[in-house]
């Protein structure tokens, strides 16, 4: 599924929706450059819409606002600057720019009160293999304060379409019906433009192929590192040609979090969530669902599944996995930034304060290895969703060990060491449940993975060239192009990521509450210029939400027609 020709964007520092990914396509369009001319007859369609919107809201131009982003992603800072410029040029807006450190930034935009801020935020999203995540994460009202509807944009009709696409069996049980449903949904989403999509991210792994062997870049960004290292369900197991058997990874960012209920960004997901923790199910490289902690399952009725856990699965601390750990592990998600991982699909009730009532959760242990899980309603993503809730040992549940400092799971790697802003290290876990098959050995070939945290792109590039690190990702587009074109000793593997970069409009503020204004400004985003100038042609411009990777639900014709029909002309 990799596509090195129109590969692109560094997906580092993305928000994380699900754990999942599939393929390729392209979209084109017009660069938006516009200026508010004195002669009103010369206004482009987009500017006319903005003007109408201002008049309807009774707002005097220019409207002051701020565009914010995270400081550590050079590409993103650059394209945010271009958007700022384009909006300023309309003379309808006066836009300031502000940047934050990633951890602070995420907290800021995922705060339930964030809608109060008059800020246009720019960020990336990693969504998975199912079309639902691409639209739900950024446009469903339930995702305000969780990933990733920062300003709490909502529209009744759109919300209903989003919910039906996933929860209405009349729609999701037939592929063509569901596909048509998402065509309509994407069209409405672009017309309303509560958030505007900028480009479809791409993922680039850069490494020395003489050292790191049999590497396969996972399509989609979310769980890339572990999937390449060791993914029994996909038949992938990389190895390293060096005596110490240690892979040294250059991480672009600090690891902010070790507790699965708090992991809301791709760096921690890549290095902690998928290396150390496991859930009942997981995706393979092609987007098929496999059992992880569950060996198999059967569906009992529309909303109930019975899962059979693998027997003898051990945690890194020696505890054995049994079904009674599932409920307390999942209950921890309530009220956390990752709450939707569990409570978006699991049947449950809440008390008057909105707290989840523990006894009401749809998790019933039949015996040590059999559990029945009840969903809120028939769910198109039932099986993969179950895999989003990880299971942790009693030691963490009781708080004897603090999961924010010491992660303990059942995954193929176990935590060894962490030095803030410096080093994160895991070693392979010898008692991992997988017993090996023809393609994949029982334990990972690579004994140890040391992640050096190197924020400066140039230093990380130098470290890779010098052999101080073996593997990195998240380099700026300039560096990626240089590695790809000029450095034959190194391999660049690129795939379309399972997500997009987007901007969220402050819908509670001034003219941004008006859909006409949002459509106008959305059209003005210079997507093609950004793709060419900032990303060196490595990304596809995005107008619609569903990534080309999920090819069963989108294609270039659809994306182009939505772009032509739903966005006003800018010239």
């Amino acid at each position: 599924m990799s596509n090195s020709d129109n590969s692109g964007n560094t997906t580092r520092r993305n928000l994380l929706k699900g754990m999942s990914a599939v393929s390729v396509a392209s979209a084109t369009g017009l660069a938006g450059c516009a200026g508010l001319e004195d002669d009103e007859a010369e206004l482009s369609e987009a500017l006319e819409l903005i003007q109408e919107g201002f008049e309807e809201e009774g707002i005097e131009a220019p409207f002051e606002t701020t565009i914010v982003t995270n400081a550590d992603n050079d590409d993103r800072v650059e394209w945010v600057g271009l958007i700022q410029e384009v909006l300023d040029d309309t003379e309808f807006f006066e836009v300031e720019r502000e940047t934050f450190e990633w951890g602070t930034y995420v907290q800021r935009i995922l705060d339930p009160e964030y809608a109060e801020e008059n800020e246009i935020y720019a960020v990336g999203l990693a969504a998975g293999f199912d079309p639902d995540a691409f639209v739900r994460a950024t446009q469903h009202p339930d995702r305000q304060g969780a990933c990733c509807n920062g300003h709490g944009f909502s529209d009744e009709e759109l919300t209903e379409l989003i919910d039906d696409g996933r929860f209405d069996p009349d729609i999701f049980t037939d592929h063509d019906t569901r596909r048509a449903h998402y065509d309509e949904l994407q069209r409405l989403s672009v017309r309303l433009s509560g958030v505007s999509f900028v480009n479809f991210s791409q993922q680039h792994d850069v490494y020395d192929p003489d050292v790191l062997q049999d590497w396969e870049t996972y399509p989609g960004s979310s769980s890339k590192l572990i999937k390449g290292l060791y993914a029994p369900e996909s038949g992938a197991a990389a190895s390293i040609d060096r005596d110490d058997n240690e892979l040294v990874v250059g991480l672009p960012e600090n690891v902010n979090n070790f507790d699965p209920i708090n992991i809301d960004d791709t760096t921690a997901a890549t290095t902690v969530r998928t290396l150390i923790y496991e859930g009942l199910t997981t995706y393979d490289f092609d987007g098929n669902v496999h059992g992880q902690l569950a060996e198999d399952w059967e569906q009992l009725d529309e909303t109930t599944y019975r899962f059979h856990l693998r027997e003898g699965v051990e945690f890194h601390n020696g505890e054995e996995l049994t079904t009674d750990l599932i409920e307390p592990s999942w209950w921890r998600y309530a009220g956390s930034p990752r709450e939707p991982d569990v409570f978006e699909w699991l049947a449950h009730e809440r008390d008057d304060d909105g707290q989840v009532i523990r006894d009401s959760m749809g998790v019933e242990a039949i015996d040590d290895y059999t559990v029945e899980i009840t969903f809120q309603e028939p769910d198109a993503t039932a099986l993969p969703s179950v895999g989003n809730g990880v299971v942790i040992p009693q030691e963490l549940i009781d708080g004897d060990t603090d999961p924010t400092e010491t992660p303990i799971g059942t995954g193929p790697y176990q935590f060894e060491e962490f030095r803030d802003d410096d080093l994160y290290r895991v070693e392979s876990f010898d008692d991992h449940w997988f017993e090996g098959d023809g393609d994949v050995p029982a334990e990972p070939n690579i004994e140890r993975v040391s992640c050096r945290i190197i924020r400066e792109d140039a230093s990380r590039t130098a470290a890779l060239l010098d052999g101080d690190i073996d593997f990195t990702y998240g380099l700026g587009s300039d560096d990626v192009v240089e590695f790809r074109d000029d450095r034959d000793d190194f391999e660049v593997q690129s795939t379309t990521a399972d997500g997009y970069d987007y901007v969220g409009w402050p819908v509670e503020h001034g003219p941004f509450g008006n859909a006409k204004v949002r459509r106008g400004v959305s059209a003005l985003i210079p997507r093609d210029l950004i793709a060419e100038q900032v990303f060196q042609g490595l990304v596809d411009p995005a107008v619609t939400p569903v990534s080309p990777m999920v090819e069963a639900f989108t294609d270039s014709d659809l994306r182009q027609s939505i772009r032509d029909e739903e966005l006003p002309a800018t010239e």
Binding site: P112, G145, I454, S459
Partner: protein, 316 residues
């Protein structure tokens, strides 16, 4: 005034200076836009409402300003800088990162001294010769080169092309291990370059000034060896201005560390400061700024004392 009295007086003078430093650092908390507690917790979705009041009480923010200041100073003297929401115990973080920064700064400082003083003397003695011109151009380049750029160029040339150094500091060793000290050379040169250049120019000009004075003529006239004249008489007198600059260099080395540590992934305080500023992590920023301020004050105190030792006439 005896030397002892002079030192005592300087020490007493520290009190108002440190008071000033602490007031300025303390006010960072009140100068940042918005409420500090809101910044700390307001954007944390997990934080509960009463947490704000609890924190306000814990950090005495519910008290009048002067009381807050006194509490803060008391805590600072006890080396308690509060708990940062991200880093945890600020003092512990500083304690773990400070040694690396001190080592880097000291190495940069030593490099500056070792290179600047002899080359400054040489340039002064050979005034208007080729050596002087070369040193002038070198100094200009040294001052004009931004240190992050210099760091990257040094990595490119000495680590990548010549392969003499690793690009990253060794990860599994202590600070004073030989491979760590070897790695330290490039960042130390990077951080020391601008100071070297400045110091060399100061050394040269004050040396030239001294060389024109009467006592030099006298010394030469009485037949002293030129070497003795330079090293024994002139050098000592020209060092006074060098000492001042060397003390002030502490400041430029500290702010150089901020950039250089990021480029070389050096696990010191500079890197923490950058991250903390970006995170709006006020307690960490306050603690580091206070530390830097105190370090500079102390460096200046040492400079004053060294003056007095070098020139017995100095007793203000």
């Amino acid at each position: 005034m005896t030397l002892r009295r002079y030192v005592l007086k300087r020490l007493l003078l520290l009190v108002p200076v440190l008071f000033g430093v602490s007031v300025i650092t303390f006010s960072i908390m009140h100068l940042v836009p918005g409420d500090i507690i809101d910044i700390m917790i307001g954007l944390n979705p997990e934080a509960e409402e009463q947490l704000g009041d609890q924190l306000r009480e814990e950090y005495h923010l519910d008290k009048p300003l002067w009381e807050q200041y006194l509490f803060w100073v008391r805590d600072a003297i006890m080396l308690d800088f509060g708990r940062s929401p991200i880093l945890g115990d600020v003092s512990a973080v500083i304690a773990s990162r400070l040694p690396a920064t001190i080592l880097l700064g000291a190495a940069g400082w030593i490099i500056a001294m070792v290179i600047a003083i002899p080359s400054g003397i040489y340039a002064a003695v050979n005034k208007d010769d080729l050596a002087d011109d070369v040193s002038r151009v070198a100094a200009l380049l040294g001052i004009a080169t931004p240190n992050f750029w210099l760091g990257l160029i040094l990595i490119l040339v000495f680590a990548l092309w010549l392969d003499l150094f690793p690009v990253l500091p060794p990860s599994d060793t202590h600070l004073l291990a030989p491979e760590m000290l070897w790695f330290l050379i490039l960042p130390a040169v990077t951080i020391g370059t601008a100071s070297t250049a400045l110091l060399m120019r100061i050394m040269r000009s004050s040396m030239i000034e001294e060389l024109n004075k009467d006592y030099v003529r006298t010394a030469r006239a009485k037949g002293l060896h030129e070497r003795t004249v330079i090293l024994k008489h002139v050098l000592r007198n020209s060092l006074i201005s060098v000492v001042t600059v060397a003390a002030l260099m502490t400041a430029s080395i500290v702010d150089g560390a901020v950039v250089v540590e990021v480029v070389f992934s050096w696990p010191g305080l500079g890197e923490t400061l950058v991250t903390s500023i970006n995170r709006r992590d006020i307690f960490a920023v306050q603690a580091i700024v206070l530390l830097v301020g105190v370090a500079i004050v102390i460096a200046n105190l040492l400079a004053d004392i060294i003056y007095a030792l070098l020139d017995p006439r100095i007793r203000y």
